[in-house]
């Protein structure tokens, strides 16, 4: 009833091809953005910013990048952590070695370096598919792990292998307080989400999806696999590299190579699988699920325990967290294998008829 598009006629092609054709959608997104920019700072405390919102935004960006590669182009990649590391360390090197380098420029340049590395490790995709490609990208992950541990130049010859950045700023405005960091991450995420959405709706996106669905047929009708696959790797690695740079700069502040280990790659892959492969919205859902749920469980389990008068020690909480997390992943994949995004779009479909089902 509230979600019907009755009476909303498009009179121009431009209006017809907008991202949110239904007015209610546009209002909802507008409200959401207003809430995110204005409302959240009023309601959220520092812990919520630093531990939940900022990691969520940055990992949502990384999941967005990975979704382009895995969800839209069908190339499985287990090297996301490695590309994030490339972005982070490259941005660090640009920031530290060039006097007066602006933060945003360093992050973007880090992303470009990640693009180069991503395309390099994407070249095997021209010959191998599926699980074999996953292994090749796994090699990328381990290679970057090794490179940032052993090659001292990348860490500016730091004895401990740990690097740190501080005094970030954007066009003269400092990015120090949690609220400023949050706004910065939100801005970057919104820009990249818009870019990604438009890319996947364009002819490049259709090329990717054609390669994903049936690459031989795509080649037959004239889509160049080289172009499609490598452009997917390039765009994906750029976004993932920027996310990695932001993870190191904005969220951690100081990091060592273990921050971008294989666990990070798996975490991102799980995010897009749970959230929904081949869906921009799905990256957000998946990131929210995987970032927020463990923290929520960590807080809720002792509270539940105290309700029944049982004190649960931290080790048990950690283990129960993992168990519930795993069980929920299995549950979601059984109930909706196409991820939370499909659940969401099904809900929207039903909302268009509600309360008059037929």
């Amino acid at each position: 009833m509230i979600y019907r598009e009755n009476g909303q006629f498009k009179t121009t092609y431009r209006a017809d091809s907008q991202i949110f054709p239904i007015a209610q959608d546009r209002i909802a997104i507008g409200l959401l953005l207003a809430l995110a920019v204005l409302g959240v700072p009023l309601l959220a405390d520092e812990y919520l910013f630093r531990a939940i919102l900022i990691p969520f935004l940055i990992l949502a960006l990384a999941a967005l990048g990975l979704n382009i590669l895995v969800g839209y182009c069908g190339q499985i990649s287990l090297g996301t952590g490695g590309f994030m590391a490339v972005g982070a360390y490259a941005a660090y090197n640009f920031l530290v070695r060039i006097e007066g380098m602006p933060t945003l420029a360093a992050i973007v340049l880090g992303g470009l370096c990640a693009t180069v590395v991503g395309v390099l490790f994407g070249i095997p995709s021209l010959r191998i598919k599926g699980l074999y490609l996953a292994v090749a990208t796994l090699a990328a992950q381990f290679f970057t792990d090794w490179a940032f541990l052993r090659v001292k130049w990348f860490t500016n010859n730091s004895a401990s292998g740990s690097v740190s950045v501080s005094n970030l700023s954007l066009f003269g405005l400092p990015i120090q307080s949690p609220y400023e960091k949050y706004l910065f991450c939100l801005g970057v995420l919104v820009v990249f989400a818009l870019l990604a959405k438009n890319l996947v709706r364009s002819h490049i996106g259709r090329e990717w999806m054609a390669i994903r669905d049936m690459d031989v047929a795509a080649a037959v009708i004239g889509i160049r696999p080289v172009h499609a696959k490598l452009s997917a790797f390039a765009v994906s690695s750029f976004i993932v590299g920027v996310a990695g740079a932001m993870w190191g700069f904005v969220h951690l502040g100081a990091w060592e190579p273990a921050a971008f280990s294989i666990d990070r790659s798996f975490q991102l892959l799980f995010m897009i699988i749970i959230g929904g492969l081949g869906s921009i919205m799905g990256s957000f859902f998946g990131a929210a699920f995987i970032v927020i749920l463990p923290v929520f469980l960590n807080q809720a389990l002792p509270a539940l325990g105290s309700l029944v008068g049982v004190t649960i020690d931290t080790a048990l909480i950690s283990h129960v967290e993992l168990m519930i997390f795993g069980a929920l992943i299995v549950f979601f994949l059984i109930v909706e294998p196409h991820g939370l995004a499909r659940l969401w779009s099904t809900a929207k479909e039903k909302l268009r008829l509600w309360p008059f089902p037929h």
Partner: protein, 443 residues
């Protein structure tokens, strides 16, 4: 029917939220000590006794009446030795219960991350026996306290002991040393000092990294078997230590020639290997296993006898348990010292506690009164020296327990002090910090 299930779900959620919200109303009448622990993961065997010792000491202090009447509260947060979880725990606990007094992350990786955050939040960090070696310099690192020693001290004392055994520093010429280290900031810390000493005394140093979590060491020990070093220094943590000893047994490397840092010389590291680890030496950060010390007796009497012990009774007095105990003791004594200036019987803020840690003056009398006779030596910190003491000994595993096998050593400040200053200056230049002024030191 759907409405009913919705209502039930809402009620459960509300109840859950209510009990979580109650925390926020807790008052600041008690001194809050957050405990970043790891009871799960590859480093849990070593993290658990430390955490138990840490929390048990707070219980003991409360049983004895608190710090001049101020009771202590604490809350554990599981970090799993992961930096991002450590940061999340820090953010969660720093403002709770009136504000955290001090953080002791027991992880060099988390220390690096928190070193950036703690000054902004005005909460001191105690990194007793770990952390950044250059944070000894309190003029640059105002909020870091590597009390009782750093890894440069550890490496120096080990080399001093080996040199003494060989009959002098000149006898080290031409000898081969291998450092088997955890491939993380923790493991890499001693390398600058070892390289410095290798240049001074002309011995060969091979560094062999072992990737986290350290269960894959076959390649490393094959390299050692080929290399045949005279001494192996072990800088491991968690399961890496016991794996290293098992591999040493497998490749036939004499354990008497192996020397571990104070985090690689505790019961969890050798118990699994049993007799195979006989003769393995390790550093003792002032204390070893001290089951006969007065503080342990007090603990067993006042805490464990009443069923309030955090861990099993037979763990009390073990090496890492004592490490946690001393860490907690230093945290508490710093607050007590701060109370001398800012008001006895009052709850101290993080800033005030920081002053206390910077002006610690624990002489042997005070330590004996606390029950640490024979466990710890006097420690006194200052603005320039946030470390306070550099005493260490070597102890050896005889198959059943650790026995001290050396005299007291102090690290050589002639070599270490310039290294600390250079590294601290480099950090200050990178972060665009200025050294603290004498006025700031007095405040």
């Amino acid at each position: 029917m759907k409405v009913k299930s919705l209502a039930i779900a809402a009620a459960v959620l509300a109840a859950g939220l209510a009990s979580v919200a109650q925390d926020a109303l807790a008052q600041a009448k008690e001194q809050f000590f957050p405990a970043l622990v790891y009871r799960t993961g590859a480093y849990a065997p070593n993290g658990v006794p430390f955490a138990n010792g840490y929390v048990d000491y707070f219980k003991l202090v409360n049983a004895k009446g608190g710090i001049n009447g101020v009771k202590l509260t604490w809350e554990e947060c599981e970090t799993g030795y992961a930096t991002d979880r450590g940061v999340e725990c820090y953010e969660r606990l720093k403002g709770k219960n009136g504000g955290a007094t001090v953080f002791q992350p027991l992880s060099t990786g988390i220390t690096f991350a928190l070193t950036e955050k703690a000054p902004g939040d005005k909460i001191p960090l105690i990194t007793a026996g770990y952390g950044r070696s250059e944070s000894t310099d309190g003029n640059v690192f105002k909020w870091n306290f590597p009390l009782t020693g750093t890894y440069w001290d550890a490496a120096d004392v080990l080399l001093q002991h080996i040199a003494k055994k060989e009959g002098g520093w000149d006898k080290l010429k031409g000898k081969k040393f291998a450092l088997v280290y955890h491939d993380s900031p923790y493991g890499k810390e001693p390398i600058p000092l070892l390289v410095e000493r290798s240049k001074m005394h002309d011995f060969e140093l091979t560094t062999i990294p072992v990737t986290h979590p350290g269960v894959e060491q076959k390649a490393a020990w094959l390299q050692i078997r080929q290399n045949k070093p005279d001494y192996v220094l072990l800088w491991g943590w968690g399961v890496m230590n016991s794996t290293a000893l098992k591999e040493a047994v497998a490749t036939g490397y004499p354990r008497e020639k192996m020397y571990g840092v104070w985090w690689a010389a505790a019961e969890p590291d050798v118990k699994d290997v049993g007799d195979g680890a006989k003769g393995y030496n390790g550093l003792a950060l002032q204390h070893g296993a001290e089951p006969n010390s007065k503080v342990v007796k007090d603990l067993l009497e006042m805490v464990h006898a009443k069923g309030q012990g955090t861990g099993p009774k037979d763990e009390v007095g073990s090496v890492l348990y004592m490490r946690g105990l001393t860490g907690a003791m230093l945290a508490v004594e710093g607050v007590r010292r701060a109370q001398e200036r800012y008001g006895k019987g009052k709850v101290m803020t993080g800033e005030q506690a920081r002053w206390g840690y910077e002006n610690l003056a624990l002489d042997q009398k005070k330590l004996d009164a606390l029950g640490f006779a024979g466990v710890m030596r006097p420690i006194s910190t200052s603005c320039a020296d946030h470390r306070g003491a550099t005493w260490a000994r070597v102890h050896t595993w005889d198959g059943k327990k650790w026995n001290f096998s050396s005299d007291w050593y102090e690290s050589d400040s002639a070599i270490i002090k310039p290294m600390i200053k250079a590294a601290a200056d480099k950090y200050a230049a990178e972060k665009k910090l200025t050294r603290r002024t004498p006025e700031d030191c007095q405040s």
